[in-house]
């Protein structure tokens, strides 16, 4: 068997793949957080719950309406995005004039409420969601066995990240969004409906989280707790990357996912804290974050 650094190549590549998949979720989620924070100046604590809602939406759609994975991949983000838009419009928008911490506290309360509600109805244990038949099975790459679904997740989440980046950097809507990030009052004076832009942005962020949730459903179990487990790690990712740049959020997500995967190979005990350790080191060396503009 081929060995690399004293580790079987298969184990090494297997963990690398898991790292890449976790990284995909970190990237999608921290991207959404960064987009929301950029314009709304709110740290969306409910982001993890929105991810969980996406997974649940997919599962419930299948159970009650027999909507398959592919439609769920489109519908679940729309539903959760709509929910996000309602929350922003009627509740969150009242807090913009206050200290940013209130936005964090409000979304924290929202997260607790939703998580508690789902726990009440579905319990804490996870429920399975089948891999869609088109992506079932795996393929032998010669040096390792690749489950097709996992390969799909890496590809599609990368596509979603790049798509969002293009939307923000290259389109007209994106240019409004970036302008409103710099100076909302001036943009509004030019006749752009900034409150609507804020609502759309929050919906976009929530939708992205739900998209990640649907992708995650067949890999992890669909559980009410899946959101809060991941959100704290994503916060650390955001601290490392700094929320100044979209691309920075994406890159940091993948980097830290891979770092976590590799730690599982070399020093498994530390795998669930390695991201926090990296965060501490980055804080020491570059307090503003790797890609950060604002401290």
């Amino acid at each position: 068997m081929t060995m690399i650094f004293g580790i079987p190549l298969q184990a090494f590549l297997g963990q690398l793949l898991i790292g890449l998949i976790n990284g995909s979720f970190y990237a999608l989620l921290s991207l959404g957080l960064a987009v929301i924070f950029g314009l709304l100046r709110v740290i969306n604590f409910a982001h993890g719950v929105q991810y969980m809602l996406g997974a649940f939406a997919a599962m419930l759609m299948l159970q009650y309406f027999s909507i398959n994975y592919w439609f769920a991949l489109i519908l679940a983000p729309l539903v959760v995005g709509l929910f996000g838009a309602v929350v922003e419009r009627f509740l969150l928008s009242r807090l913009y004039k206050l200290d940013h911490l209130y936005g964090l506290l409000f979304t924290f309360g929202l997260a607790l409420t939703l998580e508690g509600t789902f726990r009440y109805f579905y319990g804490s244990s996870g429920q399975p969601y089948a891999v869609p038949p088109q992506l079932a099975g795996g393929t032998n790459l010669g040096f390792m066995f690749l489950p097709i679904y996992r390969g799909w997740v890496v590809v599609i989440s990368l596509a979603a990240c790049i798509g969002t980046w293009l939307l923000i950097e290259k389109t007209k809507l994106g240019s409004y969004l970036r302008a409103a990030t710099e100076n909302p009052v001036l943009v509004q004076a030019f006749g752009v409906n900034v409150p609507m832009l804020l609502t759309l942005t929050y919906a976009l962020g929530a939708g992205l989280a739900a998209f990640a949730g649907v992708l995650a459903a067949p890999i992890y179990q669909v559980s009410p707790l899946m959101g809060s487990n991941i959100i704290i790690v994503v916060f650390a990712v955001v601290v490392v990357g700094g929320m100044g740049s979209i691309m920075g959020a994406i890159l940091t997500g993948y980097m830290l996912g891979i770092a976590e995967g590799l730690t599982k190979v070399f020093y498994p005990e530390a795998s669930n804290i390695v991201i926090f350790v990296i965060m501490a080191i980055v804080l020491l060396l570059r307090p503003a974050g790797l890609f950060g503009r604002d401290a």
Partner: protein
Amino acid sequence: MTEVLHTTSKLPAERSATASRTYAAFLLVGLVLLIVAPLFFYPIFLMKLLCFALFACAFNLLLGYTGLLSFGHATFFGGAAYFTAHAVKEWGLSPELGVLLGVVGAAVLGLIMGFFAIRRQGIYFAMITLALSQMFFFFCLQAEFTQGEDGIQSVPRGYLFGLIDLSQSTNMYYFVLAVFLIGMVVIWRFINSPFGMILKSIRENEQRAVSLGYSVARYKLGAFVMSAALAGLAGGVKSLVFQFATLTDVAWQMSGEVILMTLLGGIGTLIGPIFGAGLVVTLQNYLATSQFPVTIVTGVVFMVCVLLFRRGLIGEFYASRLGRKLGFEHRR
């Protein structure tokens, strides 16, 4: 600059004579109530309430008087609970030394976490403290001395100073009450000291404090360590009251709970968090017997507080007509 957090703290010199008299009267009534309380209520419940009240006041020292939102205070509360429990059970230390060890341990943890967290401000500060406390949670999950999922069970309460038997719940209650009062006096002294004044100036306008030549980072770190140590005091005593220390105390939900207590009672009021803690603990006790999950209620209360009720109970009282008549004034 955005609007700072609602607070009601004032310089002592500004406080009117009426307010001082009202304060003294309330203080006296409160003390008497606390002394006779075990005649009417279940002592364990009261002790739990006092521990959480002290924890919330310690937390408020940071949020209300320095303007720093820590999302990682469970680390100090739960960490101290583990240290005290371990010291008393495994090393056979007396309860007062065990609690002291918990306080020192929490202060050291506070020094480490604060050292990293004060490098960033506002929202980042909250996220860093949350991430670091999650790291501590994983440490406690894996470390040997915490005994993992089981936690440290059946911790002996022992004899205070080798004399007073704390397994008697009345004795234990007055010990907890004494610790609580000492903690409150320390907090009161701290926020009214020159150090506390500088903290308030940092909360109001950090740039100006820097321009006046204060080393803001050191003051923030000082406040962080102080808050951590007092949270540790509460946690250490709590592990003696319940005679166990578990992962629940270090989990992020605990950090959320203490934020809620402070918000509900009134950020930046000396006594607000006590009432906030009282409400939350009572609510939890009440809901514990029903099927309804606590998190839903907690979450809804959180949202309502943030949207409609940012001054909290005591803050609203100070701002009300009655409160103003009694000489309190609410600063927006």
